[in-house]
């Protein structure tokens, strides 16, 4: 099937197998291997990208369903040769070790910072909750990091959120 979608601002028209996930389309067909496959089952967050500005698990998204979507991957978070403030903060705070969860953490954090409303740990349900460390931890818990970089990930995100 033929689909047209935009990835990091570049339009692509591709003929795809209806079974292929958005993640495999990115990694195996478009040579955008920044998005990682950790589980292929929506359980780890390594494949997180932004679909129309919202964070989403690309391993659970079928490519054929992305007709007309605007996808942003880690490669497209900042302009060429530039770093997104979160990428810079991850470097500065050593919020990565093996780096395999990192693209997912970054895309997830970008999406998370744009979200509104309470989370499961928000105590005061009226008004916009303050993005405390506990809120960041809760909102980033869909992104596993086996290296255990969590404390530094929280520090890095908090530094940008401020």
């Amino acid at each position: 099937m033929e689909i047209t979608l935009e990835v990091n601002g570049v339009p692509h028209t591709v003929v795809v197998d209806p079974r292929i996930s958005l993640l495999d389309l990115l990694r195996e067909r478009l040579e955008l291997t920044g998005s990682k496959k950790g589980c292929d089952h929506g359980q780890c967050g390594a494949c997180t990208v932004l679909i129309d500005g919202r964070r989403a698990l690309s391993c659970l998204a079928l490519a054929v369903a992305q007709e007309g979507s605007e996808i942003t991957t880690v490669e497209g978070l900042a302009g060429d040769g530039q770093l997104h403030p979160l990428q810079a903060a991850f470097l500065e705070h050593d919020a990565l070790q093996c780096g395999y969860c990192t693209p997912g953490q970054l895309c997830s954090a970008v999406g998370m910072l744009a979200e509104r409303g309470p989370s499961a740990v928000t105590e005061e349900l009226t008004g916009e909750p303050e993005l405390t460390a506990a809120e960041i931890r809760e909102r980033m818990s869909g992104n596993l990091c086996r290296c255990g970089a969590y404390p530094n990930i929280v520090t890095a995100i908090a530094a940008v959120a401020r």
Binding site: R19, D24, K36, C44, Q97, G99
Partner: protein, 673 residues
């Protein structure tokens, strides 16, 4: 220092094994045994071969050519016997991943099942004494008379501790891309903790001279031991590429990883501990039962830390192994020390309670002058300083020892302590150093699996050359580089750093090129007990209604020689501690007694710590000088962080609730029953 490859990692440019752009790439998807023991009676590939895009099917019905020397876990499709559920019995090669996977599902395998035995138990009739335990340690040790020591004791503790099978679960699944040249040379892009070692083992399996194989592994998404040896995916990719006549990628799924990439053996550990009225240990015995597969003997050194921790006139350690119809267990972060110290450090806490002594004080009182089992002097040992410094920082002084006495709303609050330790060893490595384009290039077939090896070696080289680190470039992760040991056993920095330092010194002498091989130097080292030590402190809050355990504070204090890079070290220590929290509270792979294999083979059912599980956690270290280690004066730091964590948590849970959980993980059900 900011990680050298950090920018590549945050921008998505760092290339992991499955990500090398290769033309005409085909994909291979394995078919796994559905029985735990027995034989493949026949395989029908007719449907699969007729499916779209399928190039070929490999199977044990037509064994591809491999060397008889191949490691039994890598000897793919050589026999029709099934040693464990999940073993690869066939594989499909196709032009796309989806086509390969679909066709693999259409391969029909008929079995002749035999009865299976997958359950480890302390009274298993098959338990035997292996000749040695990993990596090359005596199976048993004995000093003095434990029975006499126990008879002379004022207080005794006798208890059995159990740890479940656990899985390394690096975030990057094991993957290999294989390419054969026209001349019959093989290149593998593989997720590997040691490319020299991987090259040699793959070459051995394929019956090739090592020079004909090249393994490239520039970035590795974690390993924690599971990528220390090549896994079936490496050999499968090579076989599939040979059969298909084009490059092939094998990217294991998370589920497949549970079956074929190793795991930590479950253990059953019995500890007997006696002490006099002052809390001085009179007897210590640590007996372990654990498992391996019928294919390969892997005997984890679970009781080994007990040989070095505490002074005692009588000390016995013993390992017994049973070979079951299971996959081969292997290295998982701090094999031996990690499960063994859960048992020993839990028992020490029980002894402190029984003797009415503070658990920090009990450990201080039993600090030995020399390594207890061997009598060797320590190159350095600062456990006591770690305990004291940790107690001070953690606010241990005012601790009321009474269990179950503190409440904060619904939550019972408690604190616990445990010691950690890990050996400081080295393996032979080579390195070269040269001046190129006004800078320095250091080459070594080391691996950076997230430890920051590139960054640490850059610092080490810059120090040896006395130049700015910006002038040094490290090349690693390629078996064509000077041969190096693996990233394992917390030996990387020490082993590679020695070779790098010597190569840089050689360069300074020569002016143009330097080279070093540490094989000879390591043969003539003085015989000393070299270990890092640490102390872990945990504060837990246990929900009295649900049994949920939250770790509200965790502190690790370590003495690990000279710390090469503070930022990297802190990340490593804390990462280890977080994995230890997983071990304490949630990680277990459940053996399927009915069908063999494991029941929970994904990250939805095998829980690892998530961000919300980690509240206040910190790691600090003491300045420790030790001239008996290596040119850097450094002990390894990759594993000690996980050692002792689970015991500190379990001891804190006891302090909070009065419930002693001797069977990991500490799930709510165990606290509520």
């Amino acid at each position: 220092m900011i990680r050298i490859e950090g920018r590549d990692k945050v921008t998505g440019r760092a290339t992991y094994a499955a990500e090398y752009p290769v033309k005409r790439l085909a994909y291979c998807y394995p078919v796994q045994a559905e029985i735990a023991h027995g034989r493949v009676a026949g395989i029908d590939t007719t449907t699969a071969l007729a499916m779209p895009g399928v190039l070929t099917v490999l199977s044990c019905m037509e064994p591809p050519e491999l060397s008889p020397e191949a490691d039994p876990e890598l000897a793919l499709f050589q026999r029709r016997e099934v040693a464990y559920r999940g073993q690869f019995v066939a594989a499909v090669v196709a032009d796309s991943y989806d086509n390969a996977r679909a066709a693999a599902g259409a391969v029909r395998v008929a079995y002749e099942p035999a009865s299976h035995d997958v359950r480890l138990r302390a009274d298993h009739p098959g338990l035997y004494k292996p000749e040695k335990v990993n990596p090359d340690l005596p199976t048993d040790t004995e000093k003095g008379q434990v029975a006499a020591g126990l008879a002379a004791a004022e207080v005794t503790v006798e208890a059995t501790y159990t740890t479940p099978a656990t899985h390394n679960n690096p975030m990057e699944p094991h993957a290999t891309v294989a390419l054969w040249s026209g001349a019959g040379d093989l290149t593998l892009f593989d997720a590997s903790q040691g490319v020299t070692y991987a090259r040699n083992i793959v070459a051995q399996a394929l019956g090739l001279r090592p020079e004909r194989v090249r393994v490239v592994s520039r970035h590795v998404g974690g390993g924690f031991g599971s990528k220390g040896t090549p896994r079936p995916n490496a050999v499968l990719a090579a076989l599939a590429a040979r059969a298909a006549g084009r490059p092939v990628k094998v990217a294991l799924t998370r589920h497949q990883m549970y079956d074929v990439t190793g795991y930590r053996t479950p253990t059953i550990q019995r500890i007997r501990l006696g002490a006099d009225a002052e809390g001085r240990i009179t007897a210590l015995e640590h007996e372990v039962a654990e498992q391996s597969s019928t294919l390969v003997e892997f005997a984890e050194q679970t009781a080994s830390p007990t040989r070095i921790m505490y002074a005692t006139p009588s000390l016995r350690t013993a390992h017994r192994l049973v070979r079951l119809d299971v996959a081969t267990p292997s290295w998982m972060r701090a094999p031996g020390e990690c499960p063994g110290m859960f048992a020993l450090e839990s028992a020490m806490d029980e002894l402190a309670v029984a003797a009415g002594l503070d658990p920090v004080e009990l450990r201080v009182r039993n600090d030995p002058d020399a390594e207890p089992a061997s009598g060797l002097p320590f190159s350095s040992r600062n456990l006591v300083a770690c305990l004291r410094e940790g107690a001070r920082r953690f606010g241990w002084q005012d601790r009321d020892p009474a269990p179950g006495a503190r409440r904060d709303g619904r939550r019972l609050v408690g604190t616990g302590v445990a010691s950690s330790t890990y050996p400081a060893r080295r393996l032979p490595s080579q390195a070269s150093a040269s001046i190129e384009n006004g800078g320095y290039v250091v080459r070594i077939a080391a691996a950076d699996i997230g430890t920051g090896a590139r960054t640490a070696l850059t610092r080490i080289a810059a120090t040896a050359l006395d130049v700015d680190p910006d002038l040094v470039r490290i090349e690693l992760g390629d078996s064509d580089l000077p041969h190096a040991s693996l990233a394992g056993g917390s030996m990387g920095t020490a082993s590679w750093g020695t070779a790098v330092t010597l190569a840089c010194q050689d360069l300074l002498r020569d002016g143009k090129h330097g080279f070093a091989d540490t094989t000879e130097i390591l043969r003539t080292l003085p015989n000393l007990a070299r270990h890092a030590f640490g102390a872990q402190f945990a504060e837990v809050r246990v929900d009295a209604d649900t049994g949920e355990v939250r770790i509200s504070r965790m502190l690790g204090v370590f003495a690990a020689g000279h710390i090469v890079d503070a930022t990297l070290a802190r990340s490593q220590f804390i990462g280890g501690m977080i994995m230890g929290i997983g071990m304490a509270l949630m990680e277990q792979t459940v053996t399927d007694l009915e069908f063999g294999g494991f029941t929970n083979r994904d990250l939805a059912q095998y829980h690892v710590p998530v961000n919300a599980d980690i509240e206040r956690i910190d790691a600090v270290w003491l300045d420790e000088e030790d001239d008996e280690l290596n040119p850097m004066g450094a002990k390894g730091i990759g594993e000690i962080g996980i050692v002792g964590t689970a015991a500190a948590v379990a001891n804190a849970v006891y302090h909070a609730t009065g419930r002693r959980i001797r069977d990991l993980p500490i799930t709510p059900a165990k606290l509520l029953l």
